[in-house]
């Protein structure tokens, strides 16, 4: 049996997304000084990956300082329950917040 050469392609490190659709992820609780793109109100909260945004893109936070090389990773569209983000949320328990978050800000929950 001849295996397709396509099956033996090895992707580079960090070329593939680290998280996949439906996966639960936590936004890291960090307080970097300088330019950041993750609002404070979402840090430490747990959400669900709705979509992996293709293609991989450079890190906006690094780009802010002119550093573009080698920091291409994926953005994820992550959904959070409003009632999980805001303990006193006034509205339907089904209401959600969606946001795009760069891979360096997420960990598996």
């Amino acid at each position: 049996m001849n295996a397709s050469p396509l099956a033996s392609v090895v992707p580079a490190l960090k070329e593939l997304p680290a998280f996949s659709e439906g996966q639960r992820v936590r936004v890291l609780e960090r307080a970097p000084i300088g330019h950041y793109r993750v609002p404070i109100y979402l840090r430490r909260h747990v959400g669900t990956v709705e979509r992996v945004i293709e293609p991989a893109m450079i890190d906006n936070e690094e780009e802010g300082y002119g550093r573009n090389a080698g920091n291409r990773l994926h953005y994820y569209r992550v959904s959070f329950r409003m009632t999980e983000v805001w303990t006193r949320y006034d509205g339907s328990p089904r209401d959600e917040l969606h946001i795009e978050i760069f891979e360096t800000w997420l960990e598996q929950a």
Partner: protein
């Protein structure tokens, strides 16, 4: 008016009140001027590049987004492509994306109402809507849209029933969002141009629905 026009036209001469800038430039204005002058001096940009980009920005208006919405309402195949990849579908219509952003189009349905905000600054789908309204850039809207969206919507006159999910999209990095509003009843058989005429900027941000009363607006 003191101006004596030799040519024949009928515009309102009250518009000729000069715009004056009497206050000294502020900190950020001075910084912008300094950075711009340095970039030009060092040859990274020309004054014409900057002028041209302003012209590009000024050429974008909510009429472009409205055209995409009207096309989606009348052409199911286009709608599918628009929801799959907002940017490439808009590019089909000739709307270019000059700023390297992607576009996700969010469809309002009987079950889901979408609302767009940028809590960090003023990310906005400028290629398809032009410049954002002032309230979109101000802190009260930015802070409250993510924490009490139903109250914010009510202040715009939009009451969302409890059984309809509110989905707030906070755009912060490389993705821009555009709401595909629901097509109102009573527009059956309308042309694409007629439909586009009732689609407003605010409906594509998600703070109001599209209604027939907007036709004259």
């Amino acid at each position: 008016m003191a101006q004596d026009h030799a040519h024949d036209h009928d515009h309102d001469h009250d518009d000729h009140t000069p715009i004056t800038a009497e206050a000294a430039p502020g900190y950020y204005e001075v910084m912008e001027t300094a950075v711009r002058e340095i970039l030009i001096e060092k040859g990274y940009l020309t004054a014409n590049d900057i002028r041209h980009q302003i012209e590009v920005l000024d050429s974008r208006t909510p009429a472009l987004g409205a055209a995409a919405v009207a096309r989606a309402w009348t052409d199911p195949a286009f709608k599918a492509r628009l929801l799959e990849n907002g940017r490439t579908a808009c590019e089909e219509l000739g709307i270019s994306f000059y700023d390297d952003t992607q576009l996700i189009v969010l469809e309002n349905t009987a079950e889901v109402h979408n609302l767009i905000v940028c809590t960090l600054c003023s990310c906005y789908p400028r290629p398809v809507l032009g410049l954002p309204p002032d309230w979109y850039k101000l802190k009260p809207y930015r802070a409250r849209a993510v924490s009490e969206p139903r109250k914010v919507l009510a202040e715009f006159g939009t009451i969302i029933p409890d059984d309809v999910e509110i989905r707030v999209s906070d755009s912060t990095a490389v993705i821009r969002y555009l709401v595909l509003p629901r097509r109102p009843e009573g527009t059956e058989g309308w042309s694409e141009a007629q439909l586009a005429s009732i689609v407003t900027r605010d409906a594509m941000i998600g703070v109001i629905p599209v209604t027939l009363e907007k036709e004259a607006a």
